[in-house]
């Protein structure tokens, strides 16, 4: 019974260790590492091509990053619940084409036509949510259906021909600048990010969304209306993608039927880079913004450094692979 050693020294040692751990943990936070990578890439690229750090190019980078980030923030919601939304690429196309169609073919005013396009997004997301909650279907399946059906819907609406002639007020959403400096998509992205960050970080609804991803059964037994939370997540995802569609149509000045193809890959990659896990239950909006920035910068560098465009998707895919590998190896260590 005299084997019990002095407790106080053990306690002192462990508190010192905790401090060391927290320092190490900061370096383990992938968001922080990725932020550094973004900076290094920009500086490194600028050494080769100084125009990369020029104001005009930075405007392009921030605008592209913002557009991607809106979609990534949206798709993050189903991912946090341990689901996924693969439909967003087609939804981006649908959002742009629908709003353009309402304006040009139905003669609707700009603002109501955008609202109506977003409302269609609400309905689609709500249907996704119903399948996931009522039938216990994995989000992967029902959103894969929409990935196909929505792209087909676009072709039916447009007959495969881009809708042109959009008014300036509409294209301003994608092409305009505030004070001639800040791209309008950046403003929209900030609004979406603040809303999402507030929802996830500070409200009980956000907490419950994380809880669903952590342990859906324990969350349900705690009296949380998990069905409502899951449906909300799928709605947010599709609405964000629809908004991106509107912005993209504005940026291109037309509702093009091919817009958004492959966008789900970019958005999901941005989420994983930003610290989300496909197992759900984790991730933050600042992380997603950093992840989107990395992809935005990478894509821009590849253009500015004259890398053959055929290689771009391979690079993005490999970045996704690196992020997932990092995520899984870290989890294995734990």
């Amino acid at each position: 019974m005299n084997e019990v050693a002095s407790k106080s020294t053990a306690a002192a040692r462990s508190s010192a260790q905790i401090r060391m751990d927290s320092l190490r943990n900061l370096l383990k936070v992938s968001e922080f590492v990725i932020f550094i990578v973004v900076i290094v890439l920009l500086i490194g690229g600028a050494l080769i091509n100084p125009r990369i750090m020029g104001v005009e190019n930075l405007k392009i980078i921030t605008r592209d990053t913002a557009i991607l980030a809106i979609a990534a923030i949206g798709v993050a919601f189903p991912i946090i619940t341990a689901g996924i939304d693969l439909s967003i690429g087609s939804i981006v196309g649908l959002g742009g084409v629908l709003s353009a169609f309402f304006i040009m073919n139905w003669g609707m005013p700009i603002f109501p036509s955008i609202l109506l396009a977003l409302l269609v997004g609400v309905v689609i997301g709500w249907i996704h949510g119903l399948f996931v909650t009522r039938l216990n279907m994995h989000g992967f399946l029902i959103t894969l259906v929409t990935l196909g059906v929505a792209r087909g819907g676009i072709l039916v609406i447009t007959n495969g021909i881009p809708i042109t002639g959009l008014p300036d007020e509409y294209t301003y959403l994608g092409q305009g600048y505030l004070f001639g400096l800040i791209p309008i998509p950046v403003i929209l992205c900030v609004v979406v990010a603040i809303f999402a960050h507030y929802l996830l970080r500070y409200t009980y609804i956000g907490r419950q969304i994380y809880a669903v991803g952590g342990n859906i059964e324990a969350t349900r037994l705690s009296g949380v209306n998990i069905n409502a939370r899951v449906v909300l997540c799928y709605v947010i995802s599709v609405v964000c993608a629809s908004l991106v569609g509107v912005i993209q149509a504005g940026r291109l000045s037309l509702g093009h039927p091919a817009t958004g193809e492959g966008f789900e890959l970019l958005a999901i990659t941005a989420c994983i880079l930003g610290g989300l896990s496909l197992m759900g239950g984790q991730g933050t909006v600042p992380g997603i913004l950093v992840g989107s920035a990395l992809i935005g910068v990478l894509q821009n560098l590849m253009v500015m450094l004259n890398i053959n465009p055929y290689w771009h998707k391979i690079v993005i895919g490999l970045v996704l692979l690196a992020a997932i590998t990092f995520d899984y190896s870290r989890r294995k260590q734990n």
Binding site: A5, T203, Y204, R207, A211, E217, R220, L221, G223, G281
Partner: protein, 504 residues
């Protein structure tokens, strides 16, 4: 003992983020010895077992097996070294059959690599028969009760013909008969010279079966005694560092009925149950594993669908169709399996504690009030004596007993009028157990109605004002605190079983 130890560990140290799990622990077991490995939750027993079975690596220290230094790097490694482990948490593949689980990765083969299912099933059934159960080898694990799964796990460990078997609370889900069979098997292993490490919180069991005990406290070895020389009080004192008495419930003023259940039947096996729980009363539900006790709770809490019957809360008929309805009616439910149904392991103590009351903690913008949330968590960490560095510690890093207290904190913070506790002290050490008993008694005194499911008769007998016994989904007996005895309860609990399902 002057024999060479079968296994010796010296100076084992292990550190987890924020927790010193083991510091400088020595451990030894001799061939043919059954060693009781004791200590409260969080004392470091499971960690040591996990190091030995290759799940964790020690930070410092050495392990010798038969005089040779070993480094088990994976469970597979440990198995090859002749070390088999039955973990506290069952580790079976739910979609495979009993035999497929037992012989996983070493299935008997026919030509062309086909599995010889007939032989495999027979071999599995023989193993299980030795353990005194008749579980069919071709049954799926997911269709078995927890107790039956436990027996499969034990059969699997035994079948590896290991010379060291580690059992981390193998009896926590077993009935008395199954425990007897397990003990008989352990004695046979002992005769073969196998060393068995036995972890249990039931000291009466430990006294029955082990030769020697090693006692841990706070990650350190407190001492070792031959069981013949150790009194129960002495062991408890070593484990807890103080004296503990078995708590009995003080009489509380019993008031109006809070929960009334009439003629309740479901599609989950519950048949025509009547039940009343009054303010300030603890009603114990006894019965064998699989008697339909948890299923009854699932009906009351709106998890499973009702077929017939009525539930009244405060005398008013209510329709509870989801757990959310149950919470809204002031029902709190501490489930049997805390990891599956009670906790979000990746979240903090604070986030888990507030999970059932989040809307109440929030302002009109749905924002959680952080100070309020923290204050509640800190209050319960203190009140329930939860051992954690802080309320922001991830629940995954806590010991089983402390995790259970976090589940309790979640429901107590919702100020329920009816608290349902399902096996509240399962897998919990002596100290924490009597704390939880005291706590339940206090809650009853404050006027909460408590419905307690327990497989431990001493617990049921000591704590309950009334005892309801279930068998095969029906109520087969009801006793007052004064009139209940172990014999009466057991008779009622096996009422329908005597003919249909007698041993052998």
């Amino acid at each position: 003992m002057n024999k060479e130890p079968l296994l010796r560990m010296t100076g084992i140290t292990k550190h987890f983020p924020g927790v010193q799990a083991l510091s400088n622990v020595d451990f030894e077991i001799y061939p043919g010895e059954i060693l009781g490995f004791l200590g409260e939750n969080g004392a470091g027993k499971s960690t040591l077992i996990k190091i030995l079975s290759g799940i964790h690596a020690q930070d410092q220290g050495t392990i010798w097996l038969n005089g040779q230094e070993i480094h088990p790097r994976s469970p597979h490694d440990a198995q090859n070294l002749g070390i088999s482990t039955i973990h506290q948490e069952l580790a079976l593949a739910p979609n495979l059959t009993v035999a497929e689980n037992i012989f996983l990765n070493r299935e008997p083969r026919l030509a062309l690599g086909r599995v010889d299912f007939a032989r495999m099933n027979r071999a599995a059934e023989e193993l299980l028969h030795d353990l005194g159960t008749d579980i069919p080898g071709n049954k799926r694990i997911s269709h078995l009760t927890v107790a039956a799964q436990q027996m499969v796990e034990i059969a699997k460990a035994v079948s590896h013909s290991a010379n060291l078997i580690l059992m981390d609370e193998p009896t926590s889900a077993l009935s008395a008969r199954e425990v007897d069979a397990l003990f008989a098997l352990m004695r046979r292993l002992k005769e073969r010279g196998v060393g068995v490490v036995f972890i249990s919180h039931r000291l009466d069991e430990v006294r029955q079966i082990v030769d020697r005990v090693i006692v841990m406290r706070d990650g350190q070895r407190v001492g070792s005694l031959p069981i013949a020389e150790a009194s129960e009080e002495q062991i408890i004192r070593m484990m807890v560092g103080r004296n503990v008495t078995v708590a009995a419930k003080a009489d509380a003023a019993v008031g109006e009925p809070v929960l009334e259940v009439r003629n309740l039947s479901g599609y989950n096996g519950v048949e025509q149950v009547d039940l009343t729980v009054r303010k300030g009363e603890i009603v114990g539900i006894s019965g064998l594993v699989g008697a339909g006790r948890t299923e009854l709770v699932r009906l009351i809490c709106g998890v499973d669908r009702l077929r017939t019957g009525e539930v009244r809360i405060d005398g008013k008929p209510v329709k509870i169709q989801s757990p959310a309805d149950a919470v809204a009616h002031g029902i709190g439910w501490v489930p049997e399996d805390r990891k599956l149904h009670g906790l979000i392991l990746g979240m903090s103590v604070q986030e888990n504690s507030s999970m059932a009351i989040l809307p109440r903690l929030s302002n009109w913008l749905a924002m959680i009030r952080p100070q309020k949330e923290r204050a509640i968590a800190e209050h319960y960490v203190k009140a329930l004596d939860i051992v954690t560095p802080s309320v922001s510690q991830t629940v995954r890093n806590l010991s089983g007993g402390n995790q259970q207290k976090v589940v309790l904190a979640k429901w107590l913070s919702s100020t329920p009028q009816l608290l349902i506790v399902d096996e509240p002290t399962r897998g919990i050490d002596v100290g924490a157990k009597s704390e939880i008993h005291r706590l339940l008694a206090e809650l009853a005194q404050q006027g909460i109605a408590i419905l307690m499911i327990s497989s431990e008769l001493p617990e049921i007998l000591a704590m309950s004002d009334r005892i309801v016994v279930m068998c095969q989904g029906r109520v087969t007996g009801e006793f007052t605190h004064a009139s209940a005895t172990e014999e009466k309860i057991l008779t009622a609990a096996t009422q329908f079983l005597t003919i249909a399902n007698s041993p052998n």
